[in-house]
């Protein structure tokens, strides 16, 4: 194999790094945190970081899976949807706490804090402008 062909092989093998990959990974991580948080339904005592009820469990799993899917598919819009869902759930939770009970979501102020984190995080990631399909990415310029 000549030098020219080795060079060509190297050039062909090189793929520019995806500048949005770290955003997608962060979205996946936040989704996984939500899915893992569902496990607190089965934890009591000092290690129960958040309180979660049956409907809260569904919220955590569905929105968490949506965030993971958004990250895997590199879909910023889907991350926004997931983030808005978490903020909506957090708003419902705090409104129910203001009424003096855990309400139908079955959470507490810690659950509100976690969903606030996931909502804000996913919205922050989803709001980063991404090039449309076929458009040149910054790394490819």
């Amino acid at each position: 194999m000549g030098r020219a062909s080795v060079g060509a092989a190297v050039m062909n093998a090189y793929r520019p790094p995806n500048p949005y990959r770290s955003l997608d990974r962060a979205g996946i991580a936040l989704g996984l945190v939500s899915i893992l948080s569902a496990g607190f339904m089965f934890v009591d005592g000092a290690f129960q970081v958040i309180q979660i009820g049956a409907i809260g469990l569904v919220v955590a799993l569905v929105l968490g899976l949506l965030a993971v899917a958004a990250g895997l598919l590199s879909e910023g819009a889907l991350m926004l949807v997931s983030g808005l869902g978490f903020l909506l759930a957090a708003s419902f939770q705090i409104a129910q706490l203001a009424g003096g009970s855990s309400g139908f979501l079955g959470g507490n102020a810690s659950t509100f804090s976690l969903w606030l984190a996931l909502g804000v995080g996913l919205i922050a990631i989803g709001m980063v402008p991404r090039p449309e399909a076929g458009e040149e990415t910054p790394a490819a310029k």
């Binding site: 790094p17 500048p19 990959r21 770290s22 955003l23 990974r25 962060a26 991580a29 936040l30 970081v49 958040i50 309180q51 706490l97 203001a98 009424g99 003096g100 507490n108 102020a109 810690s110 509100f112 804090s113 976690l114 606030l116 984190a117 996931l118 804000v120 995080g121 922050a124 990631i125 980063v128």
Partner: protein, 214 residues
């Protein structure tokens, strides 16, 4: 020479180049040549060049976030423990008066905070929930580390002389927030590390503010 961000000043930092990816533990690791080229191209030395150190700092940040996140759970609206007998947040806040630490703070609590406790209870709940939330995801971490310091001081001034309190707990809380601020801990496995390069590229005022806060 280092600037306020804790990094040695270099041309890439000032131009907002994407050097933080090399510090980010979530960054691409399968392209070692790319990382090597970035290190070679930038004279700036990261504050934490070791992957282990960055990971440990992320553990500290997340651990502190969980501290706030779990402890906001016993702040229960709408009464926040106000009643007969008092409990929860109201009882803790009332220690500032019954077991005075600092006279002006006790006066402030007795005169303004305890009589309007619903408002201040909500304020504490929102601030502590936000502290847990933002430290957990590592967004605007330096700002929230400062908020954590302020909140720690407020708690310490309330309960430091209360029965069965260990004053080093509050000193440790103060110091760990100081460490999160000094190391800009959200840049390691946090959203600050992922989003800061984008904010640096952007000319918007919001992006400039976020660069400062992270």
């Amino acid at each position: 020479m280092t600037d306020t961000t804790g990094y040695a000043a270099g041309p890439d930092y000032r131009t907002g180049a994407d050097y933080t990816d090399a510090n980010d533990v979530t960054a691409d690791t399968d392209d070692t040549d790319d990382t090597a080229i970035r290190y070679a191209a930038t004279p700036a030395v990261p504050l934490l060049p070791s992957r282990l150190d960055r990971g440990l700092l992320a553990v500290v940040r997340i651990g502190v976030a969980l501290l706030w996140l779990q402890n906001v759970g016993w702040k229960t609206p709408p009464a926040f423990g106000r009643g007969d007998p008092p409990g929860g947040l109201y009882l803790s806040a009332s220690y500032a008066v019954s077991h005075e630490v600092l006279r002006p703070y006790a006066w402030l609590m007795e005169r303004y905070v305890l009589p309007n406790f619903t408002f201040f209870g909500w304020l504490v709940l929102i601030v502590e929930a936000a502290l847990g939330a933002f430290l957990l995801i590592g967004l605007a971490t330096r700002f929230w580390a400062l908020v954590g310091i302020a909140e720690t001081v407020a708690i310490a001034l309330s309960v430091l002389n209360a029965p069965n309190e260990w004053y080093w707990s509050y000193l440790l809380m103060f110091l760990v927030h100081l460490a999160l601020f000094a190391t800009a801990a959200g840049r390691y496995a946090g959203l600050d590390g992922v989003l800061r390069p984008k904010w640096q590229e952007s000319g918007s005022w919001a992006a400039r503010v976020l660069v400062r806060l992270s």
